[in-house]
């Protein structure tokens, strides 16, 4: 290299006066401190310069590298695979550098490493190619990381595709970007049919606004767990699905989308329905004594009146009276049976607009007599302006009945059961049952909603009542709490959201 090319190539060195010797030393220093392997080839493919990095990585000495032909530097396999000789010759010919490629290079006795290399022509002042610089950057680590990322990606894809639950990703506007196998299977819609469509559009009409507001609140950073939203699937069926949503962010915390995982609740619903049904039968068993009494009274009236009539057929006045009593008794008995049937009939999934006070009144009507007999004074403090909610009336009656029966059992010598309804913070209604019974010991208070937990003698309680109540209240998106003082009584507090779905 002459001094002209020196000033041309080394911009910035103009103002520094360096002797030829100092300049060469500086060049060598830079050359050897670069963390990449550098080899400069001449037209005959012999090595003009090899930097320290190359010599160290390839375990070679200056002596067996400098001035050697490329064939002595790289194995034939590498040369043939990379076509490095031809490429270098091409650069000499065209004066145009070669873009980067990857090369697996393995020195004798060392593990193989991956290099990213490119070829740069060094031009003299007549623009002729004086030499070709091979720059090799060791990317072994990056490549292994890349492999790991790919593996993780494949693993995730596998997980998502083999999952039994719907896994879908949405963009921040709620448009579907991915839709896994399970989602295709459950919904009947293929991924390609849905990409770019909004998840909301698949929701049943009355839940569309709910999902829209959920997506909005997730975009604002909230995590939403266990929302029940039903999808209308391809064959027109409505599938209840329990969803969890989470926000996807990139490294800069910017929102890139939403992931939704949805579990098909159909089977669970069916099981729940069965459980509710068996619980109804169980509470019926608990009520049986009361029912027998309920029904024997009107039967007794009809039967006695009929017998009196038979014994005194000629008494005009008595005849009318007897007929009337027979009729009244039968009417009463059939009313009781009717109520029972209503109660035990399997409930269809049916949310309706409901005034909670009515459900409470109807529940008490069923067991009014039993309350009287047990000398339980029922006080109702019902808020007449209680908002209407969407609820399954029969299920709620079941839930209330279980609490009432539980309270009655806690007051074997009679007492007072106060039921209060009120609106709380404008977004939920509270239903409070307060008894003056024996109370629940502290050690039991966490267990009372557990299935089969019962303090009643074997055969007298199923231990299912309150656990059913619990699941019914959950089913309505509500909550139930209990406070109790042994010897004073218990308070069951039920919350049901007003805008539940």
């Amino acid at each position: 290299m002459n001094s002209t090319s020196k000033s041309q190539n080394m911009i910035g060195f103009d103002n520094i006066r360096l002797s030829e010797r100092e300049y060469e030393r500086l060049c060598n220093m830079i050359f050897s401190s670069i963390p990449s392997s550098l080899l400069l080839f001449d037209r005959n493919l012999r090595v003009l310069i090899a930097n320290r990095n190359f010599l160290e990585k390839s375990h070679r000495t200056k002596a067996n590298t400098l001035g050697k032909h490329i064939n002595k530097i790289f194995t034939n396999v590498i040369l043939e695979y990379t076509r490095l000789r031809e490429r270098i010759q091409a650069v000499f010919k065209t004066g145009i550098g070669d873009r980067g490629r990857e090369m697996y290079y393995r020195s004798h006795g060392l593990p193989s490493r991956v290099y990213f290399y490119n070829l740069t022509p060094l031009l003299d002042n007549r623009n002729a190619v004086e030499g070709v610089l091979l720059i090799m950057v060791d990317i072994t680590q990056q490549v292994s990381l890349r492999e790991k990322v790919r593996q993780t990606e494949r693993h995730l894809v596998c997980v998502v595709e083999s999952a039994n639950d719907i896994v879908t990703s949405l963009d921040s506007k709620g448009m579907i970007t991915t839709w896994n196998n399970a989602a295709e299977h459950i919904s009947g819609y293929m991924e390609r049919e849905l990409i770019g469509k909004s998840l909301t559009s698949m929701c049943i009409d009355e839940q569309k606004t709910t999902l829209t507001s959920i997506i909005k609140s997730i975009s604002l950073g909230k995590t939403v767990k266990h929302v029940e939203l039903s999808l209308k699937v391809k064959n027109g069926k409505i599938i209840p699905i329990s969803w969890s949503f989470a926000l996807m962010r990139d490294n800069t915390q910017a929102v890139v989308g939403i992931v939704g995982v949805g579990q098909d609740r159909t089977e669970r619903r069916e099981l729940e329905a069965q459980l509710f049904q068996s619980a109804k039968l169980a509470s019926l068993g608990v009520m049986a004594g009361g029912i027998a009494h309920e029904i024997r009274n009107p039967l007794c009236i009809s039967s006695a009146a009929a017998q009196i009539l038979l014994a005194n057929p000629d008494n005009e006045k008595l005849r009318m009276e007897c007929a009337e009593k027979v009729y009244t008794g039968i009417k009463r008995a059939s009313q009781i049976i009717e109520d029972l049937l209503k109660f035990t009939r399997p409930t269809e999934e049916h949310f309706e607009l409901l005034n909670i006070n009515n459900a409470i009144e109807e529940t008490f009507n069923m067991i009014e007599k039993q309350m009287l007999l047990m000398r339980i004074n029922v006080i109702k403090k019902l808020d007449l302006h209680i908002p209407i909610i969407r609820a399954e009336k029969n299920l709620l009656k079941q839930a209330f009945l279980n609490i009432i029966l539980n309270a009655a059992n806690a007051m074997p010598n009679g007492g007072t059961l106060t039921v209060t309804t009120l609106t709380h913070e404008n977004n939920k209604i509270l239903i409070i049952f307060k008894d003056t019974g024996c109370g629940i010991p502290l050690k039991n208070i966490d267990k009372i909603f557990d299935p089969f937990f019962s303090t009643m003698p074997v055969g007298q309680g199923t231990g299912l009542g309150l656990s059913i109540t619990y699941s019914i209240i959950k089913h309505h998106g509500g909550a139930i709490h209990v406070e109790s003082i042994v010897g004073k009584g218990s308070i069951f507090k039920i919350e049901i959201p007003i805008k539940n779905t």
Partner: protein
């Protein structure tokens, strides 16, 4: 029986009282019937008329007072009053009924619904 037998019927079911009254009155028996439709009312009758009442027909499931305690009270204080309990709540073979009869807490049991003949035979068996 020259004097009328005074009977107190205690049942919160008005129609049951009506039936019992008719069953007793329409037969050739010589009864005077008092009717109470609550435990309290029944106790009032007992307090006032215990010297004349000889038979108590008592529903043991009353809304205000436990009928068995009612019976016990009467037995303690006015042992001359015969007691027949009447209920739709227990069967004749129920423990509470069997024990009550064995321990002489009451003298007779009638289950609802009943036959007219049962009423008569129970009363007769007690009287004898």
């Amino acid at each position: 029986m020259s004097e009328k037998t005074q009977v107190l019927i205690v049942d919160d079911e008005v129609d049951i009282c009506w039936a019992l009254e008719n069953i007793l009155m329409l037969e050739d028996y010589n009864y005077k019937i008092h009717i109470a439709t609550s435990g309290k009312e029944g106790l009032n009758f007992i307090e006032q008329l215990h010297s004349t009442i000889s038979l108590l027909i008592l529903d043991i499931k009353l809304p205000d007072i436990d009928g068995l305690k009612f019976a016990d009270f009467v037995r303690q204080h006015y042992p001359q009053i015969k007691i027949i309990i009447i209920t739709g709540y227990y069967y004749r073979h129920s423990d509470i009924v069997q024990q009550g009869l064995a321990n002489n807490l009451f003298d007779g049991f009638i289950g609802k619904p009943f036959k007219i003949s049962e009423i008569h035979s129970t009363i007769e068996s007690i009287a004898s």
